[in-house]
Amino acid sequence: MADNHNQGDAIKEVGHDHAHDHGHDHDHHHDQSFISKYIFSEDHKVIAKQFLFTGIFWAVIGGLMSLVFRLQLGFPEMSMEFLRPILGGWITEAGKLEPEFYLALVTMHGTIMVFFVLTAGLSGTFSNFLIPLQIGARDMASGFMNMLSYWFFFGSSVIMFASIFLETGPASGSWVIYPPLSALPQAMSGSGAGMTMWLISMALFIISVLLGGINYITTVINLRVKGMSFTRLPLTIWAFFITAIIGLLSFPVLFSAALLLIFDRSLGTSFFLSEIYIAGEALHHQGGSPVLFQHLFWFLGHPEVYIVLIPALGITSEVIATNARKPIFGYKAMIGSILGIAVLSFIVWAHHMFVTGMNPFLGSVFMFLTLIIAVPSAVKSFNYITTLWRGNIIFTPAMMFSIGLVSMFISGGVTGIILGNNAMDIQLHDTYYVVAHFHLVMGSASFFGMMAGVYHWFPKMFGRMMDEKLGYIHFWFTFVGAYLVFFPMHYIGIAGFPRRYYAFTNFDFTKSFTDLNAFISVAAIITVFSQFVFVFNFIYSIFRGRKASENPWGSTTLEWTTPINPGHGNWPGEIPQVYRWPYDYSKPNSEKDGFGDFIPQHIPLSQTPHSNLPHEKEMLERGGNNEDEIKINEQ
């Protein structure tokens, strides 16, 4: 602790002018205009907040959309007249939701949640915010590219948002936009201008992800502070690093698919179209393959699941270790399992396509590869659980959301074992069983990770604390609510109810479960509205929250060594050097060295003679805090 205080004092003494002494480029932030400071900012912390605000905006839109279609599914007899002021012509004269608009809502909900909330809002926010702060860098490798990354995302958002107001409606062929449905405006009205805008928006979005990803990777490799070796990186950084690599390798494939689809739509090519007779006309397209599109789409689509999930898992690792006051169990196994999941995520995509008419032999191969992924996932879950074992757990809202994440990850993960098994997937494919599965394992789990991140790093972002009691309320409503919404969907799925159905009235086998569907809808309404507790808490706390202390959670990582409101450049003085791994919580004998139940990463081993472990003592005897230092000292 002693060192912490010294540094704090130093900052106070030197104050604001300190930065000038260093001659870094980032000094000029004093005379930045409002625009360059808050809008076209190159500061990774401001960009992170921009991603977060945009993500929250989209989450509200996506959440409210889900309520409209849940009303339709839960209460099919209900009059939707009260939505006419907002939806206008999409409410039929009989006061019902237009079936095509129902599909548009489902499509937009999926697109928004997967890409705009859980990719940009989660990974964009926390990769930007935490990478420089936790590895000890003054900013991203390229602040300018980082700024572009956000503004491409913003442009993409504007186009997607505008498409909702088109007279023919936004894209409505579901978020997977399978052609020919998405290629032919004759097939549904959403495949006209709405689809064009969807494709343009996604193209911009992919550019944003790539610009961001290149930056994250470069920064992690090149800008780590002295002593921050790869085996001393916090698991958050490992997660963001691997996520960025996955994104960089898979998003371009979606880009190619989108580009070819644009060609098919506008230039008359036949990449995905063949032998189509529609609206009384035989089209000229021949030889294309709709299944090719699915291969390209899922080559991104499946890694995308891990692009949204891995950052959430990284955040959870950090939050659970901090609040259990224990080192994360199996640090290297955690890195290994992230790497394993990342590699496997590229060779399992066709498990989304078992019944597309793909060669059954491929089905066999992909089932085998898919089920292997369960092993590293299981290792991660067991490690989280063991981290709690014999901890001293403080239930901050972030901690509760992290525990919730582990639960959701397990509950949604186990059904993956069933769906990944091609023989069972025949019956369950495209039923509510799938909806239940992915909403738990990737939707809820990632969302919980994002919430954990916001609660945990809010003090670092805004210098104030969020209200804890509102946080508890928010957690319990969300946790219980998410289970009440998604768990019952398994029953509906086992009963064979297909997804993306506007109504279940046309088939005998879908006549049952009307009560359960109504129940799910009520649970969804309560869950979504309880999110406004968070929104209120978030906005209120930015302005009126309790002032944060420097290291409110007693955390070991570097971001808590910065001033409460770090300026551009993060540390006013030297960046603290790193001497140890990030999980020295409750290390035996740490009190004897004058530390509480944690020793921050920047404390040299020489300051903690009592608590050093045998291998650390040996290292000190050899003359340094890490191998490099020893080598230099020896020379």
Partner: protein, 353 residues
């Protein structure tokens, strides 16, 4: 007016909540909370960590019994019974994993809640444990993979030679079916030959097509292997016959297929379920547009004898539409050439005029 009052009421409730929140905050500041590491809420949250999951498990067990009444009846196909056994076996396995891991998670969360006098134990790794829980799931998954793979190949393996062939064609928003007729040979098709009458694009250039007939519902013989030949005219569709545990996409430009053996007639199902209105149904499970939720095809499974009788009574397409005899792509090309020549002549005349 009512809306206005309702709106005012909501605003008022919101303001009251805000005031309560504010008062609570001021009181907590005055009391000097936040100096201790944790407050009473830590224990409350720790307790809720086991209370809510326990209530959830009890509710789920109770409701599962209720929900099972609405599940699909026992599979009516040979392979369906296999997939069902596989499904319930796997479900038992995953429920076990689900309960054990979640129980450990929430129990530990509760058990190891913060206590001032406690210190967490420094337990960063243990290779034996890591190896144990890498190998255990691997073994369980291997069993499931081999079991699943066996069932998969039983389903997707060779099509029996004596299979009864039926064609199912998806279009926005209906299913069409075609039988090969007396010669049991399905005629060719080409999407360019589709018109209002010949809406399956049957190619009548070859005699195989001459006795093909189309049907508004699907009639199938019981206990005979059936081969569905599946295609789509416009966009993707997917043939889903829930009672037979059967699903296969219909793809424009790429014919697909699925073979299975129904084991119960419709009449048998009706008496077994005590539901005289029971029908086998086929639904669409690949989003195909506005009417996706309404693509219903009735399936009737009957005894062999009855099937033969029905089959013989159907009249071939050509018998009802004799003008289609011989219409194939060559005929279409000629017709198009003729049409375009006429068009050319017209434009030529127009120029002269």
């Amino acid at each position: 007016m009512a809306n206005l009052i309702l709106g005012l009421a909501i605003v008022l409730i919101f303001v009251i909540l805000l005031m309560l929140f504010r008062i609570q905050r001021l009181v907590s500041v005055a009391k000097g909370e936040h100096k201790e590491k944790v407050d009473g809420f830590n224990n409350l949250n720790a307790n809720l960590m086991w209370i809510f999951p326990l209530i959830g498990v009890i509710a789920a067990i109770w409701y599962s019994g209720e929900a099972a009444k609405n599940f699909l009846p026992e599979a009516s196909s040979i392979h369906g019974q296999q997939t069902d056994s596989l499904f319930w076996f796997s479900t038992a396995v995953i429920l076990l994993m689900f309960v054990i891991t979640n129980a450990a998670l929430f129990y530990f969360a509760f058990r190891y809640r913060y206590k001032k006098e406690n210190k967490a134990s420094f337990f960063p790794e243990n290779h034996k444990l890591e190896i144990a829980w890498t190998i255990t799931p691997a073994i369980i998954l291997t069993i499931l993979v081999f079991y699943g793979n066996k069932v998969w190949w039983d389903i997707m393996g060779e099509v029996p030679k004596d299979a009864e062939v039926v064609e199912i064609v998806g279009q926005q928003f209906a299913w069409k079916t075609r039988y090969p007729g007396k010669d049991k040979k399905m005629g060719n098709y080409d999407y360019r030959l589709i018109d209002a009458t010949n809406d399956l694009g049957i190619d009548f250039g070859h005699k195989d097509a001459n006795d093909d007939f189309v049907s508004g519902k699907l009639v199938l013989p019981v206990n005979r292997p059936i081969l569905f030949k599946i295609r789509a005219k416009d966009v993707l569709h997917s043939v889903f016959a829930p009672h037979f545990r059967l699903k296969m996409d219909a793809v424009p430009g790429m014919p697909t297929q699925f073979h299975f053996t129904p084991t119960k007639t419709t009449a048998q199902m009706r008496s077994e379920l005590g539901n005289p209105k029971f029908n086998y149904e086929i639904a669409c499970t690949e989003i195909c547009g506005k009417g996706h939720y309404s693509m219903r095809l009735l399936v009737e499974v009957v005894e062999e004898a009855e099937y033969k009788k029905w089959y013989a009574s159907q009249s071939p397409f050509l018998k009802d539409n004799p003008e289609y005899k011989g219409r194939d792509l060559k005929w279409l090309r000629k017709k198009k050439n003729f049409a375009s020549k006429k068009q050319e002549e017209k434009t030529a005349h127009a120029k002269i005029d």
